[in-house]
């Protein structure tokens, strides 16, 4: 239960996903993350490319077997689910992908794409199935007649609507949105965001919203987790996180967001990070961010900082916090 008394729909406990590489070495894509998402809530997961956001999202849906830790869906460890429970879980947990061009099978009609999950889980048949597909298409703002067409006949925004209809076809309760708007144009992004938020309200969906677009995440999510090189460095209610970031990486990330206002933008001071995100292959001990951190001390490079609650509902992993 979280502070508002909402029981978590999805929970990651010390989740680790490591990949062993052909040439030796261990790529620690996700290295011990813990969070929970309350039913009907949205958690934002932000960070730069390669920090493990997508791997976390996929592990939550059981697409990768965790190297360590566990994922719990409605209180049950998904690795220990029975066959029937697992089938049920693959229905209730769905995903919306980043690239609407490569995530739809070009040889299937839209109706077949949307209906595939309905067939697999044997939810509806015949007339009912077709009615349901049409209902889904209109729910995401497409027309009935679009069902007979192929993906290449649609624009990026429309394809993303098809991807959303496909995810919703099996009546999921939890949806991982993996960068659902980053491949779209600005004016189309707002259409999709409004659609996702509207659907969440109507169908009481739980979202994990993965994005590198920090202003959009602030707008959409109640809580936000910031990832860096396989670990979560800070997690808080979004207002709190954006108003009072406590981890130096979060501060740098927030100050790097361009603001669409020349007067404000020129008055801002920016924390510019030197260098690039280091490789997640055999990462060094200590804080992952120590090498680029403007306030790192000797301790940071040696011991991994603890994950602590520094304010109610505000977590961070930083030795320098509160010093």
């Amino acid at each position: 239960m979280d502070a508002r008394g909402v029981s978590p729909a999805v929970e990651a406990r010390d989740l680790k996903v490591h990949f062993s590489l052909l040439g030796g070495g261990l790529l620690k894509a996700v290295d011990g993350v813990s969070f929970e998402i309350g039913a009907g809530r949205t958690l934002g997961l932000v960070g730069e490319s390669g920090c493990g956001k997508s791997t976390t999202g996929r592990a939550l849906l059981g697409m990768y077997e965790p190297t360590g830790g566990e994922v719990r869906f409605e209180g049950k460890d998904i690795a220990k689910m029975s066959g029937l429970e697992k089938t049920r879980f693959t229905r209730y947990g769905q995903m919306i992908f980043q690239d609407p061009y490569s995530s739809l099978n070009p040889r299937m009609t839209v109706a077949d794409i949307v209906g595939e999950g309905i067939d697999i889980h044997r939810i509806y048949r015949g007339r009912e199935r077709m009615d349901r597909i049409h209902e889904l298409l209109s729910m995401v703002g497409l027309e009935r007649s679009h069902g007979d067409r192929f993906p290449h006949e649609f624009s990026g925004g429309q394809r993303q609507r098809i991807g959303i209809a496909r995810a919703l076809a099996v009546e999921p309760s939890f949806v991982v949105c993996d960068e659902p708007i980053s491949a779209l144009d600005v004016s189309i992004q707002s259409q999709i965001v409004n659609l996702l938020m509207d659907l969440q309200g109507r169908l009481s969906l739980t979202y994990l919203f993965i994005s590198h677009d920090l202003s959009m995440v602030k707008y959409i999510c109640e809580r936000v987790a910031v990832m860096y090189l396989g670990v979560i460095v800070e997690l808080a209610a979004s207002d709190q996180l954006y108003r009072n970031p406590r981890h130096p990486y979060t501060r740098a990330l927030l100050s790097a967001i361009p603001v669409a206002d020349p007067v404000k933008e020129r008055a801002r001071t920016r924390v510019v990070l030197e260098g690039d995100v280091p490789s997640p292959i055999d990462p060094p001990p200590g804080c992952r961010f120590a090498g680029r951190c403007p306030v790192a001390s000797a301790r940071c490079a040696q011991t991994t900082p603890e994950w602590r609650e520094i304010d109610s509902g505000h977590f961070t992993a930083c030795w320098r916090e509160g010093e």
């Binding site: 730069e48 490319s49 624009s155 925004g157 144009d185 600005v186 004016s187 189309i188 992004q189 707002s190 259409q191 965001v193 409004n194 590198h212 920090l214 202003s215 959009m216 602030k218 707008y219 979004s238 207002d239 954006y242 740098a252 990330l253 927030l254 100050s255 790097a256 967001i257 361009p258 603001v259 669409a260 206002d261 020349p262 007067v263 404000k264 933008e265 020129r266 920016r270 510019v272 990070l273 690039d276 995100v277």
Partner: protein, 348 residues
């Protein structure tokens, strides 16, 4: 340096008919100025930039209009003379640093190639020294060591720095950056934007930066040109365009991105529909179908430019009938409706 583009029209013949990618664009870039070209994909911003560089072969493209740099007409210049300008007087930074570098060539060699191509008499050692110097200027640590490495050995941000080094090595008077940070992460984006801004001040280069993200240009641009469906729909000083957008499309673009200081629950404006099909460009305003303030006249006839304000001798103008005598009353009503795009709806 001064660049002026006049009545530029570019169309491509395809199997499906002719696409009018650029439909009568006028832009000017002055000495040491930074012009931001903002618009969505397919609005003609990259085609305009590539036409300035003469990178679009014609035929098959049909190009009309004029592009002059310091009084020289570029569109009719013989290819041999254009080669002297391309790279030397105008440098270009491309969007994707992964594909704009040759994977089989050491980066040092790629950079010096630009120099030796323009100055055949240059000694290799001198060229290498100069390349190392610009790599350093572009913020690459230990440039001597990096000189012999290949593009794949660099991260995205570092590759973009190599591309920038290549673009500035001949000290061009104009730098065209086509979505220089779109492929990069926010923190890297901030580094690259800072770098371009520094170089502009240090070298006194004029810059044209092309982007779809209004935020990217807020801190850099002196002036902004907003592109939509192959046309410039609004143009003016950055402050004026941001604070007082005078074309409904620009207003929508600014309102469709949440700002960090927004309260939660504030409504995100969403523009319905999609940009027009440029295979059959509309007779009237390109934004007609999506415009919350559209009037009957907008369907039939293409608006002219109307000046919304003029501060410090810089015109802020937009291609919109709302600024015509008879549209002004509607505009006032629309703005007093909170400019929230719920406005008066379709005016008939």
């Amino acid at each position: 340096m001064s660049l002026s583009v006049r009545n530029l029209e570019v169309s491509f013949r395809t199997y499906g008919g002719s696409v009018s990618a650029v439909r009568g664009v006028n832009i000017d870039v002055g000495e040491g100025e930074c012009l931001a070209v903002v618009g969505e994909s397919g609005c003609g911003k990259s085609v305009t930039a590539q036409t300035i560089m003469r990178l679009i072969p014609s035929p098959p493209a049909e190009i009309r209009g004029s592009v002059t740099m310091d009084g020289t007409e570029l569109l009719t210049l013989p290819e041999k003379r254009m080669k002297e300008i391309r790279g030397a007087k105008i440098g270009m930074i491309f969007q994707d640093p992964m594909t704009s570098l040759d994977p089989t060539m050491q980066i040092g060699k790629q950079i010096t190639e630009a120099l030796t191509a323009h100055d055949r008499g240059m000694r290799r050692g001198d060229a290498a020294d100069r390349a190392i110097e610009v790599l350093g200027m572009a913020g690459i640590p230990n440039p001597e060591k990096q000189f012999r490495r290949y593009a794949y050995e660099f991260s995205g941000g570092m590759r973009q720095r190599v591309v920038i080094a290549m673009a500035i090595i001949c000290r061009p008077r104009l730098l065209i950056a086509d979505e220089p940070t779109t492929a990069l992460d926010v923190t890297t984006q901030a580094q690259i934007l800072d770098l371009i801004r520094d170089l502009k001040t240090k070298l006194g280069t004029s810059v044209v930066i092309i982007t779809h993200d209004m935020g990217v240009v807020a801190n850099m641009a002196d002036r902004i040109a907003v592109f939509y469906a192959g046309q410039v729909v609004e143009e003016g000083r950055a402050e004026d365009v941001f604070q007082n957008p005078s074309h409904p499309y620009t207003a929508a673009l600014l309102l469709s991105r949440p700002s960090l200081d927004w309260d939660r629950g504030q409504k995100l404006a969403s523009v319905p529909g999609t940009p027009p099909d440029l295979f059959a460009p509309p007779a009237g305003c390109g934004f007609f179908d999506r415009c919350p303030a559209a009037m009957e006249v907008c369907r039939e006839s293409l608006p002219e430019f109307f000046e919304a304000e003029n501060r410090g001798g810089v015109s802020h103008r937009s291609l919109c009938w709302l600024h015509h005598q008879f549209g002004k009353a509607e505009l006032a009503r629309w703005i007093s409706g909170g400019r929230g795009l719920e406005g008066p709806g379709r005016l008939r």
